[in-house]
Subunit: 216 residues, 2 copies
């Protein structure tokens, strides 16, 4: 049985964006049941938790004896246990792993810098000076993924964990029109986000952080 | 035979930092011979190259039929072919993969933001306003890795590809004292950079970009 560790409470801007969403989505796609363990700020800084997650962040996944952190590593671990997530065929597998790293190391840094500016710093002087450049840098990467997706439904020949990572990266720009300015990319994101496993995973995260539950 | 694609020429600040260094280092550790294919700006934007590397970047590794990009994916691919790079034992392997993603997705974004500011924007108004915050964010992550390394020689029980990624991430801050302010982390970086395979890989990259060769 898998146990997913995530945060007990988050600020409003983070609801629907907490990275446990990636793990929930993968588990739903693979039909793997899991339970949720909730932690708060005290646990995040506690030495016992830092031994599991040195940055004090979420998600952490416990798979019987093994403890994993980093959403990318967790998704690769689950992929190795479910062909629904990661193709067994060598070339498809290599392409999937490549796109997992691309989503997290070539796209997310640019997308994240812009998303963080919008959420945390939009009114600051440096951000007003810098915003157009960060938008341009993010859009450049989005257009490169858009070009790759021309004629493709997914990053590889079929849906994989790479699409889970890329879609959740792209969702950080919800509230801007940057993704939708790229026709193939916008359609790709909508295609991935329409999957029942994504809707279920997102619904479960939203329910956890619903105002009723946060007050209760 | 492996073929590593990298850039024919780079600006001075990039010498010793081009990400082909990660692949060279891994190949040297594993004792795997490789040849180098050099490309220039024209190839980087050519459609044929974009089919191999959608962002027009380097490195690309060709392994007979397979073409891989993203240094993280390439190192994982090489790791699966060499136990010198990636332990076969399940728990060690999972920890190595976790730290590969941690180096690239939890540490490098912060380190890279500061390094890019220093190289490209140090004199700009936004950068003067923002620099202290970016230093603080990078240092926070460095201290968390430093705490993990207390009592450890490497990120996992032994040297792995995760150490190649982390060391090359840390080297982006050469010229600052941030890494060295963290005692265990500074010693770790020095320990990794003293390895003969790293010295050989760095020497080969430096030789490629030596002034004599760039002019010739």
């Amino acid at each position: 049985m898998y146990t997913l560790t995530t945060l007990r409470a988050v600020p409003p801007f983070a609801i629907g964006q907490v990275r446990d969403l990636r793990v929930r989505w993968a588990l739903e796609e693979a039909g793997l049941p899991y339970r949720v363990r909730l932690i708060g700020p005290d646990e995040q800084v506690a030495p016992a938790y830092r031994k599991q997650q040195p940055f004090g962040q979420v998600p952490v996944l416990n798979d019987d004896g093994a403890t994993l952190f980093e959403s990318g590593a967790i998704l690769l671990h689950l992929g190795e246990r479910s062909p629904d997530l990661l193709p067994a065929e060598a070339a498809q597998r290599a392409q999937t792993v490549t796109w997992m790293f691309a989503a997290l190391n070539s796209v997310e840094p640019h997308v994240g810098n812009l998303a963080n500016l919008i959420v945390f710093s939009a009114g600051e002087a440096w951000a007003r000076e810098r915003r157009a450049v960060l938008e341009e840098m993010a859009l450049k990467r989005l257009r490169e993924v858009d070009a790759w997706l021309a004629g493709r439904d997914y990053l590889v020949d079929r849906f994989t964990v790479a699409d889970i990572l890329m879609t959740t990266v792209l969702r950080q720009l919800d509230g801007t029109d940057l993704v939708e300015r790229c026709a193939a990319l916008g359609a790709y994101k909508a295609r991935c986000a329409a999957r029942p496993a994504f809707r279920k995973a997102l619904g479960d995260q939203m329910a956890l952080y619903s105002p009723e539950r946060q007050i209760a």
